[in-house]
């Protein structure tokens, strides 16, 4: 059950990274910071109305992703677009962005971890174990979002335009697709997905300015295993990683598990860059 929560949150975060890579062909190293911003903003919004924790959380769930998406749009316009999305320069720039976002949060929010109260506090009591109802909410919300994103990509006009841009930027442009707008929207969407994951996680894990690093590395792992290009692969890989995380840690120390996983994934990227689940060879 613990693993299921991890898997859903990870799937959301990694889906954001994967969308951005898939459509824009850039690796966003600052992606974990969007996750962190979501969590920190959730703390900020719930603190606005401490007497109404449920509505405070609902506010955070809506407003935090919007704020983070806005930051992403600004970053896209001011930095990424000016680099013409040149892959290597973009990575260096997003490393810079990582430091800027993380250190800004440190300045404004301080170095301490802050808790956020879960919006609901019922427990599901089953015959053999009790369970926090909030975790079920996280799973439900994340599942809805994953389905929503999948629907948006495969069934809507925006999804069509997005896939056209992904397939061939120049041709899409020639056919009147507003590529700049699509890129900005995809970057914002990717950031918002990470931010929502951050909001959902924060009642379970406290908000802290350094909390972006782990989701970033895990998302990298997921996207590489799942195939740099494949949304389905990303979700499948998120579940495998999320569910196996607990199992591996039972046999090894968490650090050793991380070392092995990191090396294994690096080797996957060297020998099977299309991922273990990606069907297309390139």
């Amino acid at each position: 059950m613990e693993g299921t929560v991890t898997a859903f949150v990870l799937a959301l975060t990694a889906l954001g990274l994967s969308l951005v890579f898939g459509v824009m062909r850039i690796v966003n190293v600052a992606h974990g910071e969007f996750f962190m911003l979501g969590a920190v903003l959730a703390w900020g919004f719930t603190a606005l109305i401490p007497e109404l924790p449920f509505w405070g959380f609902m506010l955070a769930l809506l407003a935090a992703p919007v704020c983070v998406a806005a930051i992403a749009v600004i970053a896209d316009a001011l930095v990424l677009r000016r680099l013409n999305y040149e892959p290597e320069a973009t990575i260096v720039a997003t490393i810079g962005l990582l430091y800027i976002l993380q250190q800004s949060v440190l300045t404004l929010y301080g170095p301490n971890a802050q808790p956020v109260v879960a919006p609901i506090s019922f427990r599901v009591v089953l015959p053999w174990f009790g369970y926090s109802g909030y975790k079920l909410v996280v799973i439900g919300a994340a599942a809805l979002l994953l389905i929503g994103v999948w629907y948006a990509i495969t069934r809507t006009k925006f999804g069509l335009v997005m896939r056209a841009t992904q397939f061939d930027r120049e041709t899409a442009q020639a056919f009147g697709v507003p590529v700049k707008l699509v890129y900005a929207a995809v970057f914002a969407l990717g950031a918002a997905l990470a931010a929502i994951a951050g909001v959902l996680v924060v009642p379970l894990q406290q908000a802290h300015y350094l909390m972006g690093l782990d989701p970033l590395l895990l998302s990298f792992i997921v996207v590489i295993i799942g195939g740099l290009d494949s949304l389905k692969g990303t979700v499948v890989a998120a579940f495998i990683i999320g569910l196996s995380d607990g199992i591996i840690s039972m046999f090894f120390s968490p650090t050793l598990a991380k070392i092995i996983a990191t090396l294994a994934v690096a080797l996957v990227l060297v020998w099977r860059p299309q991922g273990l689940f990606g069907a297309r060879a390139r």
Binding site: V79, P111, I224, I259
Partner: protein, 318 residues
């Protein structure tokens, strides 16, 4: 003056200036400049790869830290002679770079960046995992006796500021001369050719993979030598030197000073060192300058200081 004479005058002048600086600098800056020279050696090693061969690594901290621990741990635990420790640290970094290179050079571009980063991350985690040996983030401090030794009839004490300064200067001079000689040699020419157009280089009869492996190994060797010197001269080794930040710093130094220039790494390291130093005095979140400078460089100043100088005024700058 011919191009060749200018090159020697410029770089000789920089070395001479660094030598003379030690007699006028106050204590605080004396230590800082010694540290900058060691870190600039690391940057020169990094620049061999990114600047002259065109490979952007995000994992060089593993080579720096290999030098650091490869020298520091045997000295700390077994009382190894510091000179032997230095050579061992540098050699281990060379071996690691060669072995890692065999694997990571199957990739290029973005994949190369991510794979090197992941290898370095695994290395960093390993320094935490072997906490019992390395003491992780807390780190280890070399005892004063371990840094006093006889070498070639000299009694040296690395805690002595003048000794430390001149050791750092010797290391830096060595790295600068190696780099200078290399990039002007036939070998350096091939490295630059790979940076400019790898496919064409192959069709001129060069096995590009072998030359990239050589460049990566040399780069690892210099980075490791810097790490080994660091633990000897400043007596401290800790996991933070293996963390991702120490892979990003040399990138920042080289970009600022001028990618693909011999003198750039020193300029970039010195500027960034003092910029971070000054910022940390006034604010807690001083690392924001790392981010701000990185973004600004990529956007507005991709050639860096020495690179821009070369483009505008001095085509002869190597």
């Amino acid at each position: 003056m011919t191009g060749r004479a200018r090159v020697w005058v410029l770089h000789g002048g920089v070395i001479l200036l660094l030598f003379l600086l030690q007699f006028v600098l106050p204590d605080y800056h004396h230590t800082n400049v010694a540290r900058i020279m060691v870190l600039a050696t690391y940057a020169i090693g990094y620049n061999l790869l990114i600047g002259y061969t065109g490979l952007l690594s995000l994992g060089h901290a593993m080579f720096f830290a290999t030098g650091l621990y490869g020298a520091g741990l045997p000295i700390y635990y077994f009382g190894l002679h510091p000179v032997a420790g230095f050579l061992l640290g540098a050699l281990l970094a060379l071996v690691l770079a060669f072995v890692v290179g065999l694997i990571v050079l199957r990739t290029s571009g973005v994949a190369f960046m991510i794979v090197t980063m992941m290898f370095a991350q695994a290395f960093f985690l390993a320094t935490l995992y072997f906490n019992g040996v390395t003491r992780g983030d807390e780190g280890l401090v070399l005892a004063a006796e371990a840094r006093r030794f006889g070498f070639l009839g000299l009694d040296l004490d690395l805690a002595e500021p003048a000794t430390r300064y001149n050791m750092a200067l010797s290391l830096f001079t060595g790295a600068l001369l190696i780099c200078l000689a290399l990039v002007r040699s036939p070998l350096g020419r091939v490295m630059i050719a790979i940076r400019e157009n790898e496919e064409r280089t192959r069709m001129l009869g060069y096995n590009a993979r072998d030359y990239k492996l050589l460049a990566l190994s040399l780069s690892g060797l210099l980075s490791g030598a810097a790490g080994a010197a660091y633990v000897l001269l400043f007596a401290y080794m800790g996991s933070s030197f293996a963390a991702i930040q120490y892979s990003i710093l040399p990138l920042l130094w080289v970009l600022l000073g001028g990618i693909g220039t011999v003198i750039g790494p020193l300029i970039g390291t010195a500027l960034m060192f003092y910029l971070i130093d000054k910022t940390s005095e006034v604010m807690q979140s001083y690392l924001i300058v790392v981010g701000a400078v990185l973004v600004a460089l990529v956007l507005f100043f991709p050639k860096g200081l020495a690179g821009t100088l070369r483009q505008r005024y001095a085509r002869w700058l190597p």
